[in-house]
Amino acid sequence: MRLERRVVVDADRDAVWKRVSDPACYPEFMANIERWETITDGPVTVGSRFTVHWKVGSVPVGGTVEIVEFDHDRDLAFNGITGVTVRGRFRLRDADDGRTKVVFRLAYEAPGGLLGVVADWVAARQVGRIMETTLTNLRELVES
């Protein structure tokens, strides 16, 4: 399942990147987050790992994720290592009037064959809402 949500933030890319690239900010703007822990020490870069769980349906869903792309002011992508197979990306691009377009993508795939496919479809609606709320929170955080 591949989902994508967008928002335009009334701030430059640097200001948005400051929030997106700072793991300490994630509990502030990530919706439905149940658990956020930093596993690796030092500044965030490719290879940094975090434990993240979102409340989806009845239980927290997630696992350990690793940052696989850290392109300053442009892209931050992560892959799931444990738990549900997941790949996520924050993509920052210039919009009109010095604003920034933020694209949040999540691709995930539950195990379990046909039931996994059904679970993906059932979860998609809630995951989509979580992504929308996350971007709204991010916009408010950056613009405040």
Binding site: E34, R35, H53, G57, S58, V59, P60, V61, G63, T64, T82, G83, A110, P111, G112, G113, L115, G116, V118, A119, D120, V122
Partner: protein, 277 residues
């Protein structure tokens, strides 16, 4: 009379010999991972489950999880909590559950052993904790799980407190797990302890109860050995604050029951209607 005792002994031996020895290696993380989406669908859509407070469970190392038990022979609280634990801590973290001898020895339920279910006895519990695993126990067992539905929010282990010694001997923390909703999946009328004695299954099968309930699809359901089709009751589970095991067994046992009762009362207060939640 000697002949009758011989028959009784033979039946006991036959049952005991069919209880599989706990082999912790039978737990299969890959199998559990494959089953999680199906259980997530059932928990999220059918039981509208809500699991909270998992951050109160130590993130690693052995821990004894002590729960109140509901739902008869089809206890939704167990599988909802197992799903939540495996989802939150990952299927890689070893996690075992104690179950009645009849559950682990029933051939159609062999798959439960892949989830980490082992026969409920002190030896198996000790082995699981010594291996560094998390262990889920329901001290109330078949006494508590078949309580009448009008006592659905009452925590009662029936005086069983061996779990306290288990935690102390193993030197592990204890976390109470409160749950509500399970006893609304059928209308449980009576534990049927008198029936268990009458049929002598208390001695033969370690069954202290032969419950009487109204349940789908049977209508009047005596024994619940074949299970039942649970009503779609909303299940809410919450992990509570850990409890130290330093001190007298009776005092710690009372502390655990009081903590669970307070947790269950708080969750019950949120319910507006039976089943619907």
């Amino acid at each position: 009379m000697a002949g009758f005792d011989d028959v009784l002994g033979w039946v006991k031996h036959q049952v005991a010999s069919r209880v599989p020895k706990a082999d912790l290696d039978q737990r299969d993380p890959d199998y559990i991972r494959e089953q999680l989406p199906g259980t997530w669908l059932l928990a999220s859509l059918y039981f509208r489950a809500d699991v909270r407070g998992l951050d109160r469970i130590p993130a690693e190392g052995p821990v004894l999880l002590v729960g109140n038990h509901s739902g008869g022979n089809v206890p939704p609280d167990t599988f909802v909590f197992t799903l939540a634990f495996c989802s939150y801590f990952g299927v890689e973290r070893p996690f075992y559950q104690l179950a009645h001898n009849l559950v682990v020895s029933a051939p159609p339920l062999g798959w439960l052993r892949k989830f980490g279910t082992v026969a409920a006895n002190h030896e198996n519990a000790r082995m699981a904790l010594e291996s560094g695993a998390a262990l889920l126990v329901y001290p109330g067992g078949d006494y508590e799980v078949f309580r009448p539905s009008w006592e659905r929010h009452k925590v009662d282990f029936g005086g069983r407190k061996g779990y306290v010694r288990l935690a102390r001997d193993a030197g592990v923390p204890m976390v109470p797990i409160a749950s509500v909703g399970g006893q609304e999946t059928a209308l449980f009328l009576d534990r049927g302890q008198w029936l268990a004695k009458l049929l002598m299954v208390d001695k033969l099968l370690r069954l202290k109860s032969v419950p009487i309930s109204l349940a789908l699809p049977w209508g009047l359901n005596i024994g619940d050995l074949g299970g039942h089709f649970p009503l779609p009751s909303k299940i809410v589970v919450e992990a509570l604050d850990p409890i130290d095991v330093d001190g007298d067994d009776d005092i710690i046992h009372e502390k655990v029951e009081a903590s669970l009762q307070a947790g269950v009362d708080a969750l019950a207060a949120e319910r507006r209607f039976p089943v619907i939640g």
